[in-house]
């Protein structure tokens, strides 16, 4: 009886209308449940939702002008939130289930999202269109990954080093972009170029003061790998030290969207994809056709033999570091532009994908890295469409990697190695 009474008293004390518009702040004895009703056309005000507490008592909330709603509760547990569909505007409908369950916890705000769509949106997103749209995002991600992973792969190929700080070089590109373009107001193209040059310089500098001397000292590869881990840690927290834990953006204005056929992406995304393709093609051409490119591949194949046939291995490696870091910087800059911001740990999240891509393609093969990146990009973006829960999209990429290692350890384009 008491149990039943408690929520009733709560209801009596908390005026239903009070939930609208005001901010709900959770305390040690109360929790908040909040959400925004938003369709593809924008936020939807004046929608009624029913919030049912664990003991079955219901209360009603209405979304404000900004589409937001929230409710304060004084009991922890599972709350059911149902959207009253008849209160939606005529052209808007719930796109999935109209009810969700959230766990309310004291001192915390539990988000509850019920997706809604306009009728026009629903008609335009058939499964096929959705697939095409996700493929486009996947291709975009794949191309950005490829920019970074080609460098990672080249470094691995020429020096045998798995560079765990590579992802931080990606972040560096985005953060430098923020400083150069956003803070100091340089033109995006000019600033971008400057960022790439700066990133390339960090590569040159690193090899000059650190990697080359360490190679000469004869430090083992595992040792070097741990050095890169230390470097990665130091760089991450240097980023956090300078810009904090927030997301920073390269440009200040909001991106505009363009639709081509079934694909809707920001303008910046299209440009970024274009740049990536051009740059990757240029790197590929350089590797295949130019003298220095052939030298690089020769060093990858067999450093001792390359040195014996008159190639300056150190010079090639220096160049590889420079180019790889410039590419990583470009990748980070574009990543920050298309995902609308970059954080100190953005690179950390990509690292996993980079390594998956490089391993998938075959360690040390530049073109393998390209193929691997595209596959990983597509897998990550397509797996939610194909029914994988969104949280597990990275897990899918790793699962594919592990399965591939079981059947083809050398990766897709790698060569089987000699033993003994």
């Amino acid at each position: 009886m008491l149990l039943l009474l408690a929520p009733l008293m709560l209801l009596a004390m908390a005026p239903p209308a009070g939930a609208v518009g005001t901010l709900c702040l959770p305390t040690a004895t109360t929790a908040c449940i909040a959400g925004t009703v938003r369709s593809d056309a924008g936020v939807v005000p004046n929608v009624k939702l029913t919030v049912t507490d664990p003991s079955g008592t219901a209360q009603e909330v209405v979304t404000g002008d900004d589409g937001r709603w929230n409710v304060q509760v004084s009991k922890e547990g599972a709350y059911k939130i149902a959207l009253q569909e008849d209160t939606l505007p005529d052209n808007v409908a719930v796109s999935g289930a109209n009810e969700v369950t959230v766990q309310a916890k004291f001192n915390a705000t539990a988000p509850a999202l019920i997706p809604v769509r306009t009728s026009t949106y629903v008609s335009s997103t058939s499964k096929v269109d959705e697939l095409i749209q996700s493929s486009a995002s996947g291709l975009r991600l794949g191309l950005l990954l490829a920019l970074a992973s080609i460098g990672l792969s080249l470094i691995y190929g020429t020096t045998g080093l798995s560079n765990f700080a590579h992802a931080e070089q990606v972040t560096l590109g985005g953060i430098l972009g923020y400083f150069v373009v956003n803070v100091h107001g340089l033109n995006l193209w000019l600033g971008g170029l400057l960022v790439i040059v700066l990133c390339g310089f960090t590569g040159w500098f690193q090899d000059r003061v650190m990697w080359q001397p360490l190679r000469r000292r004869g430090l083992g590869l595992t040792q070097l790998m741990i050095v890169t881990i230390g470097l990665s840690l130091a760089m991450q927290y240097t980023f956090q030290y300078t810009v904090g834990a927030r997301t920073v953006r390269v440009v200040q204005d909001n991106p505009t969207v363009r639709t081509i056929g079934p694909i809707t992406l920001t303008n910046q995304s299209f440009v970024a994809m274009g740049i990536s393709i051009v740059v990757i093609a240029a790197v590929g051409f350089a590797l295949l056709r130019t003298r220095i490119g052939r030298a690089t591949r020769a060093v990858s194949d067999n450093p001792a033999l390359a040195a014996a046939s008159g190639i300056d291995v150190d010079r090639v490696i220096r160049l590889v570091w420079t180019v790889a870091m410039a590419l990583a910087g470009l990748s980070g800059l574009l990543y920050a532009l298309v995902t609308n911001g970059i954080k100190w740990d953005s690179g950390l999240q990509i690292l996993l994908l980079l390594f998956a891509a490089v391993t998938l393609g075959g360690l040390g093969t530049a073109f393998g890295a390209l193929v691997g990146s595209l596959i990983i990009g597509l897998v990550v973006e397509l797996s939610p469409v194909l029914g994988m829960p969104g949280d597990f999209k990275y897990a899918t990429a790793l699962l594919i990697l592990i399965l591939l290692l079981l059947v083809r350890p050398q990766g897709l384009l790698g060569r089987p190695e000699r033993v003994g």
Binding site: L219, G220, I229, G230, P389, Y394, A395, L401
Partner: protein
């Protein structure tokens, strides 16, 4: 003076905290992987998180403590099998890449809203939901205790001269330990020779002879004094521990959430783990591990199943990781985001600082690592004005120092504090 005393106090508290013990155990596991077997596992935090989840979730759902512990171990066991099966036959890099990825995946999955009922998603699991069975085991009773009960404040109210004498005595003890340990190391003429001839060419006969003589002498000396030396080291360590607590009296609840009880159990477990590792690595099995670290193909050519041994090592180290994970969350809560990549790197820093492939290295490393981090934070907080470095930034600064320290250790002292430079070899 008070600031310094406060910083020193907080260093000691951090050094003996259960989480330091937890990281020490995880680093012991990493030592089995990396130090002894040469397996580059960069996903130790994954093992820890799995152990913590297995433990916390099962107890949270009403299972007994022992079942929770076993389930935590079981989760780590399965994880090791899944990671090891595809990678242990390949080059070391693959294990590194797969373990670091898998550990992140565990974290992502743990954070997933789909599993809110089990893992509490990004919010994690509160300590109260699983801690009770453990605190109920306590026979320490209620109330507070101070260690040591007899401390500086009992002599002249903790006057400056008391402190000075105390610290000098402590410094003398540590110097004594170092000297005794070094005396024990005098034996390896072998090591010296190894350094010269690692290239492996001819050794001039005369040189060999004279060095061999030296070796014989040193061996005689150590043979006589070995038991005495060992007892001396033991006594000095006990004395320094007493002096530490004498100089920096520390008080906690006897049982409580994070009191003496959990500290006692944590460090007892550290001791048990050290004993287990000692028993393992002195055996022929341990010899096999080191052989695999040196050259897998050679061991294979001697008819040993290298894959099976590596898998065993991966599992054992992983179980230590899981135990570390359970301890790590015991006085706190299960927070997937606090058990990510950084935690693995802390374990590595602790291990390499103390000395890989040594028995005590990981523990010493963990203690020094955490104490040093607190010192950096404390000093930066106290002496660097906020305009240059604010409170948030001192935290980040301490991590930057960790990263740089990791690099410097690996480059300039790869054998760590306790390691024998010649035994340690990274590039297997």
């Amino acid at each position: 003076m008070d600031t310094i005393q406060a910083i020193l106090n907080s260093m000691l508290r951090e050094a003996i905290s259960p989480q330091t013990a937890a990281v020490a155990i995880a680093a012991i596991g990493l030592n089995v992987h990396f130090g002894f077997t040469g397996l580059l596992n960069i996903g130790q935090s994954g093992f820890m998180l799995l152990g913590a989840y297995g433990f916390a979730i099962s107890i949270g759902h009403g299972l007994p403590l022992i079942v929770g512990v076993l389930l935590g171990f079981a989760a780590a066991l399965v994880f090791a099998l899944v990671l090891g099966a595809p990678t242990l036959k390949l080059r070391g890099d693959y294990l590194a890449i797969v373990t670091i990825s898998a550990a992140e995946i565990i974290r992502y999955v743990g954070r997933s809203a789909l599993l809110t009922d089990f893992t509490g998603a990004a919010q994690g699991l509160q300590g109260v939901s699983y801690r009770t069975p453990f605190t109920n085991l306590s026979f320490f009773g209620d109330g507070d205790s101070t260690l040591s009960p007899f401390n500086i404040y009992d002599i002249a109210g903790g006057a400056v001269w008391v402190r000075l004498v105390g610290w000098l005595a402590l410094a003398a003890c540590i110097a004594g330990i170092v000297l005794l340990v070094k005396a024990g190391r005098a034996r390896p003429t072998v090591a010296r020779r190894a350094s010269r001839d690692a290239g492996g060419r001819l050794t001039p006969a005369a040189g060999t002879e004279s060095r061999a003589d030296l070796g014989a002498d040193a061996r005689q000396v150590t043979a006589v004094s070995a038991p005495v030396r060992r007892m001396g080291i033991g006594a000095l360590i006990a004395l320094s521990v007493f002096l530490l607590f004498f100089l920096m009296p520390t008080s906690y609840q006897d049982t409580g959430v994070s009191g003496w009880w959990v500290r006692f159990v944590a460090w007892l477990l550290v001791a048990v783990c050290l004993l287990v590792v000692y028993l393992l690595v002195r055996s022929p099995w341990g010899r096999l591990l080191r052989g695999i670290r040196e050259d897998e193909d050679a061991i294979r050519s001697l008819g040993k199943n290298v894959f099976a041994i590596k898998m065993q090592a991966l599992i054992i180290g992983g179980l230590f990781g899981a135990l570390g994970g359970m301890l790590y969350v015991l006085p706190a809560s299960v927070q997937p985001d606090s058990m990510g990549r950084s935690l693995t790197f802390f374990c590595y820093t602790a291990l390499l600082l103390g000395g890989a492939a040594t028995i005590f290295g990981p523990v010493l490393g963990a203690v020094i690592f955490y104490a040093a981090r607190i010192m950096i934070k404390g000093v930066a907080n106290a002496y660097i004005p906020d305009s240059i470095m604010n409170g948030q930034q001192t935290e980040q600064f301490s991590f930057i120092v960790v990263g740089v320290a990791l690099m410097l250790i690996v480059i300039f002292r790869p054998q760590g504090i306790l390691g024998n430079k010649r035994e340690l070899r990274f590039n297997v």
